[in-house]
Amino acid sequence: MEVTITSSPFGSRTRTRALLALRLLGESYPRELARLLGAPLSSVQKALASLERDGLVAARPVGRTRAFRLEPRYFAHEALGKYLDRLAEPEEDLRGRVAALRRRPRRTAKSL
């Protein structure tokens, strides 16, 4: 049985880690977050929906998906960012996964 060794100050563990991931990434979409967090897609979608209702994150349509990021208009956005930065420090696994993601552009037709 897995034992949680870190707190979840934003409710569920998925909610908290989704916020941490968005802070580290800047912007992401549900399927990418699900892969990063090792969580079911439906759980991530529910977490994002509840975070959106709370005004902590916001989404915009990008193609056929929605890109989420921390809501810059949240009244405590700056303080939230600093808090999430601090919370992310001991999350070595998550930070490692984020660091492994490729975000830089890749030329069309360039082979892998």
């Binding site: 209702r53 709370d54 005004g55 916001a58 915009r60 810059p72 208009r73 009244f75 405590a76 956005h77 700056e78």
Partner: protein, 204 residues
């Protein structure tokens, strides 16, 4: 009574009045508020109220039911109008500023709390500053042209939000000649008279 022909302003003020009469303090925000401040030049289908005091779901449902709005998921809908109501979670804030002072708007015997013109303008500018939403910039400009807004306060807030460039873009748009509006409408009795762009600039 809300009917199929009711305007957004009619619906929004009627809702605010119903909430008030049920002891629920709520402030009209978002696009519906912007619509009121542009005298309908900008339209929105959703009506957003931010609750600024404690209440219960049952009490809220009862207040909404008094004007025939019924809860469906996170929204409230009415059988005779396409406008729907949402209650975004608080606090009532614009960017990092949560010292918001709503104003009371009266219409046909009904009263509702709404964002002031200055705060509604800032609310739209926040979307432009943080999401680069040009349509929100256009609405902010429309509000500033229709209503008296405190440009000095908007500038101070813009600097606090880290968007001096955004404020300059707003001023530049405000100085442009306005596009011809298709529908001309005189201010209703009791409504503040619109100000020209020249009058706005002279107050900066």
């Amino acid at each position: 009574m809300i009917t199929r022909q009711s305007s957004l302003a009619d619906v929004a003020i009627a809702l605010g009045d119903a909430l008030r009469r049920h002891g629920i303090r709520a402030v009209l925000t978002g696009g519906a508020c912007a619509s009121l401040h542009t005298a309908g030049d900008y339209q929105s289908r959703d009506v957003d109220f931010v609750l600024v005091g404690p209440t219960t779901q049952a009490r809220l449902d009862a207040a909404m039911a008094s004007v025939r709005f019924l809860r469906r998921g996170d929204s409230y809908v009415h059988p005779r109008t396409a406008f729907y109501v949402e209650f975004p979670r608080g606090p009532l804030a614009i960017g990092s500023d949560h010292a918001i002072r709503p104003v009371e708007r009266r219409r046909r015997g009904a009263r509702a709390l709404i964002l002031s013109a200055t705060d509604s303008c800032r609310d739209r500018l926040a979307a432009f500053y943080h999401w680069n939403d040009r349509s929100s910039l256009a609405v902010a400009v429309a509000i500033a042209r229709k209503r008296r807004v405190d440009l000095r306060a908007i500038r101070r807030w813009s600097l606090a939000e880290g968007s001096p460039g955004g404020f300059e873009a707003f001023l530049a748009e405000l100085r442009r000649p306005p596009r011809p509006v298709r529908r001309h409408r005189h201010a209703a009795p009791g409504e503040p008279e619109p100000l020209t762009a020249r009058a706005q600039r002279s107050r900066l």
